[in-house]
Symmetry: C2
């Protein structure tokens, strides 16, 4: 097989984040689940937006964040996801292309606005997200670029894609296309509530279609409906080829058949905003994996990327992560 | 005269900033004047935007920044400036209202898009700005709210308003309205190139209509076409009631007839982005002034606000400046 043109192609919701600081009392008043991602309609999104303080807009989306960080590390990346031909859509496309990512999904000429995610950052740096899926909902099998998927070592899918029905179909088609070309498929579980909404689908998918699974502790407990991390670890073992489980300040655990690695978290001076921690971990891990590094090294690169992203506001780092990754790779 | 409802009302261009880091070589390649604000059309703006890295969007505009910072300090503030009824227009309106500012200029239903300013931040933290004035250009006398101007201690005008012809008319009308009600008029010169484009107008205005003038060193030298700061100082003395002249790391000099104060700059750990330094200085100064503090105290408050804004990316601070201002006011 010839050397593929891309290391990773990501499929996900194309979203612009609207970041603002908030107090926990506000979350309680508005009946919002702290730390979770909730799907909302445009009206509810605007209703909450009207009540929060000044905000900053920057490109987001779970898989899109992963792809942007991976490209920043030097990985060759592509992304597929749908925006509208509006101002936020132009911002999304600009930012991901500016990282050197191939992004050619045509913007929708009509229908709902480009998706946005209101990210409410609490004083303890935890983020609560309200997502208006907008134009992302219409991402479907017709938006796939099969030749790009066949030409990527890994096809990376975000669990959030399972919410819009057309995207779900695209998701399955992409996994089939990748496997038919002898490539790998990776999945991030995205959110415990997302897992809860689609548990049987995810269990089935992981069994048949997922080579590399990314999940945090809440998500993996929700997936297997177990009480302890170790119980989840025993279940996931053998369920997919590789599972990378992130545990915040406890670091991460990678399991692949008989192989298990427990990797400590990278040092962080001050956590400012946990938005994008999991996305950045996946980016670092997949960068290491597509460069041929062993699983423990992949987990360490992922941890360094996550640590850097949570040290600043926003889901994508605004400085170069390569020196930190080079430190990990130095013998 | 009854106690006015507002401390300061600002009139200015309603702009959303698009912030991105850049190298000086890029500025040179594109023929951009480092440190200056250049007016561009939408095509040129998009041409440069397509070449820069990922960006962050946040509300800006010179007088709007001043008003937002002033409101954050506890000042009672209003703003007038024109956006289009588009996504960036909604962002601008949200952010300024979220600071507690009265902002009721109706968005334009057609015509050019909401203004944006591409802010290219160099490694030395200097910013180079490309402004597409868009909908701001149509701000005119019909957008003034005379009752708000009459009800504000100070009407604050940005020099940039002198570029769009209709805004210039609004500017003169607002100054007349304020003075007729026995209020003060403040002007910020905004930019040396702006001063160069409109020198005679500004000299005339300052003579007849300006009570408080804000200018940085480049601007005041350009205004009087002199070579040294001291020569400018001697000229501005007596030209308007109060002049507050900012000198970056040298602090500021305030002159009011026979009274002259030379105030050192406030300490800054690391300068990250000088965007909004002058705007924040004016906010702190006007906050002090409308609270009845003496000129030296006003200058110290201005300096503290500027120091905080340049310690982070963007033109508006993302944390509370009040504790720092309270330190200045503590006897």
């Amino acid at each position: 097989m010839s050397d593929p043109r891309f290391d990773v192609v990501g499929l996900g919701n194309a979203i612009v984040d609207v970041l603002t600081r908030t107090e926990d009392a506000f979350l309680a008043d508005q009946g919002l689940d702290k730390g979770a991602m909730t799907l909302v309609d445009q009206e509810r999104s605007r209703q909450i937006y009207d009540k929060v303080g000044p905000a900053t807009e920057c490109s987001g989306g779970s898989a899109a964040n992963t792809i942007a960080v991976l490209a920043g590390l030097g990985g060759r990346a592509a992304f597929m996801g749908r925006v509208r031909d509006d101002e936020l859509g132009r911002i999304f496309a600009h930012d991901i292309r500016a990282m050197g990512v191939r992004y050619e999904t045509p913007p929708a000429a009509d229908g709902p606005d480009t998706a946005n995610c209101l990210v409410l950052v609490s004083p303890d740096a935890e983020r609560t997200m309200l997502t208006y899926l907008g134009a992302s909902v219409h991402f479907g099998p017709g938006d796939l670029e099969p030749e790009v998927i066949r030409d990527a070592r890994v096809t990376y899918l975000e669990g959030y894609l399972w919410d819009p029905p057309a995207a779900k179909e695209a998701f399955r088609a992409a996994a089939r296309e990748a496997h038919a070309a002898g490539r790998e498929v990776a999945l991030s579980l995205s959110d415990p509530f997302c897992v809860d909404r689609h548990r049987d689908d995810f269990l089935h998918l992981i069994e048949g279609e997922v080579d590399i699974l990314f999940a945090n502790e809440d998500e993996i407990l929700s997936l297997y409906q177990v009480e302890t991390f170790d119980a989840a670890l025993q279940q996931v073992r053998g369920h997919c080829k590789v599972a990378a489980l992130t545990r915040s300040e406890k670091g991460s655990v990678v399991v692949a058949g008989d192989e298990v690695h427990v990797i400590d978290a990278a040092a962080v001076d001050q956590v400012k905003d946990t938005t994008g921690a999991g996305d950045a971990y996946a980016a670092g891990f997949l960068y290491g994996h597509t460069q041929g590094h062993d699983l423990a090294t992949c987990a360490r690169i992922g941890g360094v990327c996550a640590a850097r992203v949570i040290s600043a506001m926003g889901a994508r780092p605004d400085d170069d992560l390569r020196p930190a990754v080079e430190d990990v790779l130095r013998p």
